[in-house]
């Protein structure tokens, strides 16, 4: 019996083909997984930034209610603010927030959070100016974007 099996597989000229019928389904599953867990990169970053590290950080909730402000080094080596897809100044924050507010539903509007993605080395002057402008525009929930630092390095 064993010998026959061996001979048969050795003699056969047509190789057994792998059944790939379910391969598309498999890949579709992976695709859907990625579509759900990731979100589209909606802006081209014109500034380079590296957010600080913190231990007490929380995950931000609803994505639709988050407005991003990027602060970092622009191509000319100076610190700049980026709103949407262009480099901007403090005074542009007003129109930017108005636009974003128009886009949002009333539910998201109540939860509006401004996520400040700022580089570590940005001088505090820029940050305080932004904060003051946000206060004026009544966008009071802000988030200092950061990455998680492992807890043991900062243990007291």
């Amino acid at each position: 019996m064993k010998q026959r099996l061996f001979r048969r597989s050795n003699d056969s000229h047509d190789m057994m083909t792998l059944n790939t019928t379910s391969l598309p389904d498999l890949i579709f599953t992976v695709l859907f997984f990625f579509m759900i867990v990731t979100h589209m990169r909606d802006v081209d970053l014109k500034v380079q930034y590296q957010v600080p590290e913190g231990t007490e950080i929380q995950k931000l909730g609803h994505k639709a209610s988050i407005v991003n402000i990027y602060v970092g080094k622009a191509e000319n080596g100076e610190y700049a603010i980026q709103l949407n897809n262009q480099l901007s100044t403090i005074s542009d924050i007003r129109t930017f927030l108005e636009q974003e507010r128009k886009r949002m539903g009333s539910e998201d509007l109540a939860r509006l959070t401004v996520s400040l993605r700022a580089d570590r080395d940005v001088p505090m002057g820029i940050i305080s100016d932004i904060k003051r402008e946000l206060q004026k525009q009544n966008a009071l929930r802000i988030n200092y974007s950061a990455t998680e630092k492992s807890k043991d390095t900062s243990k007291q």
Binding site: I27, P52, M124, I142, N143, Y144, S145, Q156
Partner: protein
């Protein structure tokens, strides 16, 4: 005869390339999307007030902890240069004031839901003043250290009263704990006071 032939000749759709197509879709999504979830330190800014409407609040000296960051990113607390770990420790002792030290903030007796009557530290104020030339990193780390101080205190209280950490508390329990240790941080701009944070 005719009928039989027709039944047999259903042509199968060639689906060999479906896998390739879906692979391409997958790769497209991988390239255009980003995985990074937004995490960070959530803070509430005080509402904006007109210059003239601002009222002067006099706070007793024992209730104030003055933090400053100078242009060289040095952190000073009431005049002493300290490290971030020391800051967390100081925030803890300052806010908790376990032994009712007359130099540390006052506490008031209040009825707290779930906890009964307890002494609440609702008079203290931590003031922050950051120099315009200091870096954001220094400021962020300071905020982080302060929040860490509060988080440790709240966790301690939650463990003592409810038997589990703050992270596992229900909303009611969290409210009770935050009432005992409210975050009272006030940020000041270079020019003048910037307002408080409840």
């Amino acid at each position: 005869m005719f009928r039989r032939r027709q039944r047999h000749d259903v042509p199968a759709l060639n689906t060999t390339s479906t896998a390739d197509i879906s692979f391409m879709l997958l790769i497209f999504f991988l390239v255009t999307s980003s995985m990074d979830t937004d995490k960070g330190l959530l803070r509430q800014l005080p509402p904006h007030e007109e210059e003239q409407a601002r009222e002067e609040v006099t706070v007793k000296k024992r209730n104030i902890m003055a933090l400053q960051i100078d242009a060289d990113n040095r952190l000073t607390c009431n005049g002493d240069t300290i490290s971030l770990v020391e800051l967390t420790q100081r925030v803890k002792t300052f806010v908790a004031n376990v032994d009712d030290d007359p130099l540390l903030p006052e506490k008031t007796l209040r009825e707290v839901h779930l906890l009964g009557t307890c002494r609440v530290s609702d008079r203290h104020v931590i003031t922050i003043q950051a120099n315009r030339h200091s870096t954001y990193d220094a400021y962020f780390n300071m905020q982080n250290a302060i929040v860490r101080g509060y988080a440790l205190l709240r966790d301690q209280l939650a463990r003592k009263c409810f038997g589990h950490g703050y992270a596992l508390c229900s909303q009611d329990e969290r409210d009770a704990v935050t009432l005992v240790y409210p975050q009272r941080i006030s940020e000041m701009a270079e020019e003048g006071e910037e307002g408080g944070e409840p």
